[in-house]
């Protein structure tokens, strides 16, 4: 295999996730995060080689929404730049690739978007095959419910199992000052919430939320000067699957499984159980259980700790949920996780997804030590 560079997450800043920030545009929400992330690294924007962002025009409700972000990301004088129409975690993946290509040593990765400007359930219907699937009115909750049903039928998991997963995330979210849902809830309380689309209850789904995030990546040589405890990327991989819902076994995530295998091999990680903390982009409890199975995690075990941040169930800002997972992994490994810190965390997994029913998955393995000598 090709020789890889050690690249680390060295800074991260996030606006608290809220249902609707009616006072700020997406760019106004992002600007303070860029400044905070750079200040955290002790550098000015002029010291950063590359910028890359993830957002979606349909979430912004207008074409070219990302163009306005150039100003707040600092594209003056002109900057090397790219924008992905994806969760910003994939932008982080691309920045990492660019460092592997030797084209840059430092990068900022931004995610933004105001989901409250539109109706995401209707908008995300437009991700589906326009000829055969979008027209029948499926939305992300109804497709997720199909997936949850299929998973429950195969695995034997029941309503109570889903409630237990949601309750654990809710308890964790209470310790995360940037989570949107900070009130804990017991499994019994969640079981009493109404169906949104069976078998998914209101208590199993995140509310609509928005935020803005900036993550800083740096290659070995620079990373140490920007951060006292960099979170080194040991391995990363991402895979997409066919969209066609009827052509996939929705009860399994073969894409997440393959991405994990490849990322673990790159990281020299024998199994997911060997890490201390895992952050999954699971927007409902069935997705979390499907991802645990795909990654080879025991959802019942006390280690690794799964979603100590509360995960997407306590805050799911579209197009940045995945990047927040990467940021949370950095916080855990760099001693910045506050009340939700996992004791002695040395290795972490961060996961991102895109599309309906976990269609695309990215898996990052991070460690507090360099991967390659």
């Amino acid at each position: 295999m090709t020789k890889l560079r050690n690249v680390a997450v060295v800074g991260f800043a996030q606006a608290p996730i809220v249902a609707r920030d009616e006072h700020h545009t997406a760019q106004e929400m992002l600007y303070p995060q860029v400044r905070r992330a750079l200040a955290d690294c002790g550098v000015e924007r002029s010291e950063i080689d590359y910028q890359v962002a993830g957002s979606a025009d349909y979430i912004d409700g207008r074409p070219f929404g990302f163009v306005s972000a150039l100003d707040v990301m600092g594209a003056w004088p002109p900057a090397q730049d790219l924008h992905l129409e994806m969760d910003a975690a994939f932008a982080a993946y691309y920045a990492w690739l660019r460092m592997q290509a030797g084209d840059c040593d430092t990068a900022i990765v931004c995610g933004y978007g105001k989901a409250s400007e539109g109706e995401p359930r209707r908008i995300l219907n437009l991700q589906l095959d326009p000829y055969y699937q979008a027209a029948i009115g499926l939305d992300p909750v109804s497709t997720a419910a199909l997936q949850a049903s299929q998973y429950m039928a195969r695995s034997g998991a029941d309503d109570r199992d889903l409630a237990a997963v949601a309750a654990r995330n809710r308890a964790a979210g209470a310790r995360n000052p940037e989570a949107q849902v900070r009130a804990g809830a017991s499994a019994d309380e969640l079981l009493a919430t109404p169906w949104v689309v069976a078998p998914l209850r209101q208590g199993y789904l995140p509310p609509l939320g928005e935020s803005a995030v900036c993550l800083v990546l740096a290659a070995e040589g620079k990373a140490e000067t920007m951060c006292d405890r960099p979170a080194w990327i040991h391995g990363v991989d991402q895979r997409i699957e066919l969209q066609t819902l009827g052509a996939r076994d929705l009860s399994r995530s073969v894409g997440a499984k393959l991405a994990a295998e490849k990322a673990f091999a790159m990281a020299g990680l024998e199994s997911a159980g060997a890490v201390d903390v895992v952050e999954l982009s699971a927007a409902n409890p069935a997705e979390e259980l499907i991802l645990c199975e795909a990654l080879g995690l025991d959802a019942q075990a006390s280690r690794p700790v799964i979603n100590p941040s509360g995960g997407p169930l306590t805050g799911n800002p579209l197009m940045m949920t995945g990047l927040i997972r990467l940021g949370e992994a950095f916080r855990q490994l760099s001693g910045r996780a506050g009340a939700r810190a996992v004791d002695g965390a040395k290795r972490a997994i961060a996961h991102a997804t895109s599309g309906h029913c976990l269609q695309q998955n990215a898996v990052f393995v991070l460690g507090s030590d360099r991967r390659w000598s």
């Binding site: 890889l4 004088p77 326009p130 699937q133 997409i240």
Partner: protein, 383 residues
């Protein structure tokens, strides 16, 4: 770049105003199949896919790469989706180059498309920015003031735009894939109505359905391929902020910086004499004169004189857009990749009827946003 990268296959669709014979997936697949055939490869040989297109509002499908995963042969492969406005076709291809240069992928399929007949481009390209008067009437309404400013600044005479438009059509007549191939005269253009003064109807790009795909590969793979590859000497994407008092929207700084970076990396000191053909992004005729200056082919104020002397025509000193360019075919998301792909075909010596003789270096260029995003590469017939 950590290791050499080359283009080993190029494919494009027939471009037209309405490809009613194919779905969005069918259109994309037409370009992908041709690129794979050209490279002598199959889907199973591809390690990753990089796809780009302009705003999703053009077709009304959000993140269509998700629906297209099957048609792209992407199942269980890495895929990223790029969107950098009009420059996207070019920045998408450059992202594929990064994939290969990283050492982690040997053969990457890159594709860009737009099926504008599925929606309404005028609506999709008229963003309503917060706190700004909604004055924009499509891209032409946005860019016409820049053309006026260019004319005012340089004394560019009124026949230059029409000359550029006529030349684009003459070139497109030699390109079997082009959307608009009917020849036209200077009078035809001069007599066509203004859409956004000084931009006339016949100085405006069409709204097209079309796609372009390329296979980008490592040097080792390229050397073993069935045909001569196009070596990527350099490629960069630069962007500049929107609300900066010092911005020059006639000759944007990001374009100048990007061109310099690309030439420096490719070892080109005198682009006018060291580049034999350029495919540049000209959606409205006047931009050809503007970009000649911005790209450093001449000094400020000299771009229109190159046009006036005809030095950019097919068979002249530096043929610009021998394919007919964006003025002949504009499937927006694909237009940038078509420029880079046509540049690659020229150095491979496989551009057909519009082949320029003895091409060593070719420039492919695209821009987007409010003339804020620039992406370009120099390809060569030698490593």
């Amino acid at each position: 770049m950590k290791r050499p990268v080359a283009v080993v296959g190029v494919g494009q669709t027939q471009h037209s105003s309405r490809r009613a014979d194919v779905s969005i997936a069918g259109l994309v697949r037409e370009a992908v199949d041709r690129a794979l055939l050209d490279a002598g490869l199959e889907h199973k040989d591809i390690d990753a896919i990089v796809i780009g297109k302009a705003p999703d509002q053009l077709e009304g499908v959000m993140q269509p790469e998700q629906y297209l995963a099957g048609a792209l042969g992407a199942h269980l492969k890495p895929l990223i989706r790029v969107h950098t406005a009009g420059s996207v076709g070019a920045s998408t291809a450059l992202s594929a180059v990064t994939h290969v240069a990283s050492g982690l992928f040997d053969r990457v399929l890159t594709v860009a498309f737009e099926k504008q007949s599925e929606g309404n481009a005028m609506w999709a390209l008229s963003p309503n920015l917060p706190f700004t008067a909604p004055l924009v009437a499509g891209a032409g309404g946005y860019f016409a003031p820049y053309c006026r400013a260019y004319i005012a600044k340089t004394g560019c005479p009124p026949h230059i735009g029409p000359l550029i438009a006529v030349n684009a059509r003459a070139n497109a007549a030699r390109n079997p894939y082009a959307h608009l191939r009917e020849p036209m005269t200077l009078e035809d253009v001069m007599n066509s109505p203004y859409l956004w003064e000084p931009i006339r109807y016949l100085e405006t790009c069409p709204s097209s359905d079309g796609a372009c795909a390329m296979v980008v590969a490592s040097g080792d793979v390229a050397k073993k391929g069935p045909r001569k590859p196009a070596w990527v000497k350099s490629g960069y994407s630069y962007a500049e902020a929107m609300w900066v008092p010092g911005r020059d929207q006639v000759s944007p700084r990001a374009g100048r910086v990007c061109a310099k970076a690309v030439y420096d990396k490719a070892g080109i000191r005198d682009p006018w004499n060291e580049i034999q053909v350029a495919e540049i992004y000209v959606p409205f005729a006047w931009f050809e004169a503007m970009w000649l200056e911005n790209l450093g082919f001449c000094d400020v104020g000299q771009g229109w004189k190159i046009i006036d002397r005809g030095e950019q025509k097919f068979g002249a000193h530096l043929p610009i857009n021998p394919s007919g360019g964006v003025l002949a075919s504009n499937p927006i998301g694909a237009s940038g990749m078509l420029r880079l792909g046509e540049a690659a075909l020229q150095v491979m010596g496989r551009a057909g009827e519009h082949q320029v003789p003895d091409v060593k270096n070719a420039l492919g260029h695209a821009y987007g946003g409010g003339a804020q995003y620039f992406a370009m590469w120099v390809v060569s017939n030698e490593l």
